[in-house]
Symmetry: D2
Subunit: 154 residues, 4 copies
């Protein structure tokens, strides 16, 4: 691919700008969450399931790595109040990481499990694991670190 | 927040399921990329700019951490062919990480710079930095590791 | 601390240079491993234990974060042949990350568990968890990504 | 390698236990730092150099990945007081990550640059880059996140 082709690829979103511009504010979460079901919720642990919707695929027709990373953020954050943290917010993201182990395809049933490794006064760390429902095989694993502000600034 | 409230939060996407379900396949990339402009593209380096669109905000009205992570994936991947890698694909994601340093708000002009740290025969590592255009201040920094398959499987 | 004090801190190793210089080549591994015991080894899983030796402490008298990270490297690598990978080497490190959740102190008994998340033809990802033996509480969690070369170069 | 061979490898440190046990407490830092020289120190930025000593090599005779990770910890921490943070400590490690891009060999001259990306009231993030002096080529890049306690607990 030459440099011009890379530029065209990155700006191809312009073609769908009219659709994207018509979407409501804060649409990323609904886009990711409208297929999400909560199967189990316990102190410090959340188990969700999702049938991978075509809108979250990449060019290779598997779950987009950006969608996986955003789900680490969203499901990981929800584990903080689930761990009993009393704050009115779920905190501020400090770090997110994800390892991709395998591809997951359209309409596959997957499980997302968030587990609080630590929910302290100021810092929370959540592990988020993605598994294929049929085989139980882990296909991605991430961690989400958040700062839990009290009154002071980060 | 009690456990029931966490469940309601995670399943709130269901309310917008009708909008989300009507979207075309592979919609995550257009959602993120329709505001992206390529300012400069050189071997191993891509500089983009973006005016943060309201659809990519989180509940706190700043750029969603999941959007930042997905942009590390997308802009980071584009740096691989830009570094002269001849493969027909941009490879398979192995790892993505992001550190969040500050919030960026709706309509703020930001710069995203991807820089190839290594593009070898089999492994590529790209650094992706997010800066506020007005001040040049870095508000997020990430890294994207990809495996570049030839004929053999990962 | 002023800039001069930071410089003095970073160069304080010079005081012990005579001890350090007398040590044999490749001494980092013996330094970390001479307290390590393997409790269980199964395909893709290694469970070690260690009584934290004073030589691995930091200035706060808890296990040095650098020692934890180096143990992610060492114990994580050993899980690759344990997963049945036939290569003559354990591969080349691509990425290591660690989250620190709590301090562990001198003479505390700890457990280190490495679990292969993926050992493919070319890429291996190992999760490494550090727990306090007495309580079972996780005090650090990391991941180690390696490239497994065949004949081709990374 | 069969499971018994993996166990023997991990417990080989036992052979050198007598040397290791004779070392003073908190020896990991002197082991890593006795070859470190500070070339430049400015607010929020530290530039060190090191001639790779044989004691920090791995079995492949290049700088041990665990040594690199530990240096991200040590040099990264020093950048916090260098950035003007007034606390009496350099904080508590929350996360460390490193990407390995190339090997560096015994007696090679390397440069380690720590740059404060953020030093806030409670959270600091430092980028640490490892370069070969001769060519300027980056061979490892990491990030270190620390929590800076005031009076409250993490």
């Amino acid at each position: 691919m030459d440099l011009e082709a890379v530029k065209r690829y990155l700006e191809k979103g312009g073609e769908t700008a009219s659709v994207a511009d018509g979407l409501p504010p804060r649409f990323l979460e609904p886009l990711l969450m409208s297929s999400l079901k909560v199967d189990l919720i316990q102190p410090g642990r959340i188990l969700c399931s999702m049938k991978i919707p075509p809108r979250l695929l990449n060019a290779g027709n598997s779950l987009h790595g950006g969608a996986t990373a955003a789900l680490v953020d969203i499901v990981g954050s929800a584990a903080i109040p689930a761990a009993g943290h009393a704050a009115s917010t779920t905190g501020v993201s400090v770090e997110i990481n994800v390892s991709y182990l395998d591809a997951a395809y359209a309409h596959e049933e997957i499980e997302i499990e968030a587990r609080a490794l630590r929910v302290g006064k100021a810092v929370a760390v959540i592990s988020v694991e993605f598994r294929k429902k049929k085989t139980g095989k882990i296909f991605a694993q991430g961690r989400h670190t958040k700062f839990l502000p009290t009154t002071s600034k980060m």
